[in-house]
């Protein structure tokens, strides 16, 4: 019975989407019931698969219509769920369930909500189907459904400024990526005459890599790169995350990104198995490093809360791609762990941004300020998310970033190539700049002085707070109890990605892989060698108590806020240029003014490239695909 659970989860989500379309456009209660019922059933079914797949280590292989392979040839569509698929499926299912709970009250004032929930369920079902399928064309169909639902949801609030153009850009770039993927799949079919991933993997190992398959690999990697928003393909992401409703932005940054990352891991590690060649590793690591750096430097100059979070999302995916590109077990473990942590903390940050938007009606950093007095719970959740993304000790970002540094540095030492050492330094610098950027956002939005028009903001309703609490708790727990996460989630997933023999044998019958010469790699569990986060937590608590005693104990005088209408001593006039300001606030865009002025040339080039014209973005996509294809052809053995 348990082998039916994955297909049931995906198909019940689609059935829920159609039922909302039939029944839900007039009646709100039925609509919410069907949505949450479908989402909850999918959640329960996928969580029930943890025991067989992750803990006992079996692989579920499922042929649709019972079309088992005939004389060594796969003729049906197969779903194969190994530990790597289930790892991503768990992330997907948790994210969209929390987003559904959040959107019950966040979207309550919008129109056309029947269409919203239909599209939301189709998006969730398609991403879930993408990570669990074992057939390469089925994966392409799911990618297309995901693109359509994402575009429709991006352009959902089409009375707002800029939503339609963001949706259009997303559609053009996403459709180009899908066309590249389809061309790659067509070339693979022409070479191997089968669409099943396990059989393609086995055939490519005995035939070797012909020029057709190298071209196919380059095109499919470019296609999935468009979906996971690495740097020259990242341009629609910034616009789309900004204008989409926030519960959908959370799904974009938590689920849709990861679908692209999952596609790249599947293609590089399992179908083509090229990750043991140092040139391919260098290509992917360089893409990841450039993504990290450009993402975070663009984020430092933004004036809008969600656009800043979008650039940070791009930068963190750069970390994941860098770690995956290393080709070692430690690299893959750190990449997967950072992907999981990114879903958690980035989802949390987007939910707090949505709470701020819901409560105040704006996300412009220059107009917000001092919200910590009016919305304390949101502030605490935001601080947990900000500390996690910057990589501060007791939270989960610290563990995964430390593993990424360790993985790149170990690779630099082992291979003797100093480029990996430079990548480690870049990763550290990007982490510092992330922290700087979040200090800026915290000061601009939550601390500082409350503007007059925001004096009446209230805390958001409970249905929006509950997902934030759950994600904050998960952030803290995954950071403290990382050995459990490693043993139950990461080690099985890494093992499944590096050992292809079990994957092939389960789908095609035992002995198939051995007959074609595929052999196993023994993977030891990743060793963690860094400071214990429990020690850091105790240290922070001790220092906090000490600081609290010192500050409240001493009667030090504090500065006074300026009161309107009161005449002040003119000796202070030099600090206010001789004028009385109603309040002095360090605005969000003023905090790193010196840094931005120093790098003026760099920012002029970069902001000129992000011109907003859709044809420019298409040119970047084509150039990057050409670079990937050329590099693969020149350097592949």
């Amino acid at each position: 019975m348990i082998q039916h659970f994955p297909v049931l989860a995906v198909m019940l989500l689609f059935l829920g989407a159609f039922c909302v379309e039939i029944f839900g456009s007039k009646n709100e209660g039925i609509r919410n019931t069907i949505t949450m019922l479908a989402a909850t059933i999918a959640l329960v079914l996928i969580y029930a698969l943890i025991k067989p797949v992750m803990i006992d280590g079996e692989i579920i292989s499922y042929w649709m219509g019972n079309w088992a392979p005939v004389s060594g040839y796969a003729i049906g569509i197969g779903y194969e769920i190994d530990a790597l698929s289930l790892f991503f499926a768990l992330l997907v299912v948790t994210t969209f369930w929390l987003s559904g709970v959040y959107s019950l009250s966040y979207m309550a004032n919008d129109h056309h909500l029947g269409h919203y929930y239909t599209l939301y369920l189709m998006l969730s079902g398609s991403v879930l189907g993408l990570v669990m399928t074992g057939d390469v064309f089925n994966m392409f169909v799911m990618v297309e459904i995901m693109t359509f639902a994402s575009v429709a949801l991006t352009a959902f609030r089409n009375e707002n400024e800029g939503t339609l153009e963001a949706g259009f850009k997303y559609l053009v770039i996403g459709s180009m990526g899908s066309s590249f993927t389809l061309t790659g799949i067509a070339l693979i079919y022409g070479q191997c005459h089968t669409l099943n991933m396990a059989q393609i993997s086995a055939q490519l190992s005995c035939g070797g890599l012909t020029p057709t398959t190298v071209m196919a690999l380059a095109l499919i990697v470019a296609g999935f790169g468009v979906k996971s928003y690495i740097v020259p393909f990242h341009t629609p992401a910034a616009d789309a995350y900004m204008v989409a409703p926030t519960s959908i932005s959370m799904i974009f940054s938590g689920m849709v990104n990861k679908a692209g990352v999952y596609g790249m891991i599947r293609v590089l590690y399992i179908i083509f198995r090229v990750m043991d060649q140092s040139n391919v590793q260098m290509l992917i690591v360089l893409f990841g490093a450039v993504t990290m750096f450009i993402g975070v430097t663009m984020a430092l100059t933004q004036h809008e809360f969600k656009r800043l979070l979008a650039f940070h999302s791009i930068s963190q995916i750069g970390y994941v791609i860098t770690a995956i590109g290393l080709g070692s077990a430690l690299g893959l473990t750190s990449g997967l762990f950072h992907a999981m942590n990114h879903t958690l903390f980035k989802g949390l940050l987007f939910l707090t941004a949505g709470a701020v938007l819901y409560a105040t009606g704006t996300t412009n950093l220059d107009k917000l300020g001092g919200l910590s007095k009016r919305m304390p719970k949101t502030t605490i959740c935001f601080l947990i998310g900000a500390f996690s993304i910057s990589g501060l000790p007791p939270f989960n970002g610290f563990v995964s970033k430390w593993l990424v540094y360790q993985a790149t540095y170990t690779k630099a030492v082992e291979s003797g190539n100093f480029v990996y050492a430079i990548v480690t330094v870049v990763a550290l610098v990007v982490s510092v700049m992330t922290l700087a950027s979040f200090i800026k956002v915290t000061q601009a939005v939550f601390f500082g002085q409350l503007p007059a028009e925001l004096k009446k903001t209230k805390e958001v309703p409970a249905a929006m707070l509950v997902p934030m609490y759950i994600m904050s708790a998960l952030c803290v727990l995954c950071g403290i109890f990382y050995p459990i996460v490693n043993k139950y989630l990461l080690y099985p997933a890494t093992n499944a990605a590096l050992n292809v023999t079990n994957y092939i044998d389960k789908m095609m019958g035992d002995g198939y892989a051995a007959g074609l010469g595929v052999s196993n790699i023994e993977v030891a569990p990743a060793a963690f060698s860094f400071w214990n986060p429990i020690v850091w937590l105790i240290l922070f608590v001790v220092i906090f108590i000490a600081a609290f005693i010192v500050i409240t104990g001493s009667k030090s005088s504090r500065g006074q806020l300026l009161q309107p209408g009161v005449k002040y001593d003119p000796k202070y006039a030099t600090f206010f240029s001789g004028e009385e300001e109603l309040f002095s606030q360090v605005g969000g865009s003023d905090l790193f003014w010196g840094f931005k002025t120093d790098w003026k040339g760099y920012y002029r080039v970069l902001e000129g490239l992000h011109s907003g014209i859709v044809t420019d973005y298409a040119v970047f996509t084509v150039i990057a695909t050409a670079i990937i294809t050329l590099c693969m052809f020149i350097f592949m053995r």
Partner: protein, 119 residues
């Protein structure tokens, strides 16, 4: 192995990408996306060709007499192409509806004017 079909599909894909990258009218950009899709569809269908094969359907006379079917072309790429045509139609429909709404809001469909989100 029809060489002409392969060359034609590559030419179509390149022309479509050129249109998306250089033309400023948004409707021409959408047309370029469509041409890329048609090129890819032509490539997929041509991959299934077997020399001397007929259409991939069983003749009634063969089935009733128990004779083995004729040598036919591969039916799987034809199914893939059908799926891809549906996807292409949906992409075109969605893109054109977005262009209509952009025209209503921005009063222009030149890509240089539709750039309020930049930087």
């Amino acid at each position: 192995m029809i060489i002409v079909n392969y060359i034609a599909s590559i030419v179509l894909i390149v022309l479509g990408l050129y249109t998306v990258c250089t033309k400023k009218n948004l409707i021409k950009v959408v047309l370029g996306l469509g041409i890329v899709d048609y090129g890819v569809n032509l490539l997929i269908v041509s991959l299934g060709f077997n020399d001397g094969g007929t259409a991939p359907i069983y003749q009634m006379s063969d089935l009733l007499n128990g004779v083995a079917p004729h040598f036919f072309v591969d039916p799987v790429p034809q199914a893939l192409t059908l799926t891809s045509i549906v996807i292409g139609a949906c992409v075109d429909a969605m893109a054109l509806s977005l262009v209509i709404m952009i025209y209503r809001k921005y009063k222009s469909i030149n890509a240089d004017d539709v750039r309020r989100l930049h930087g």
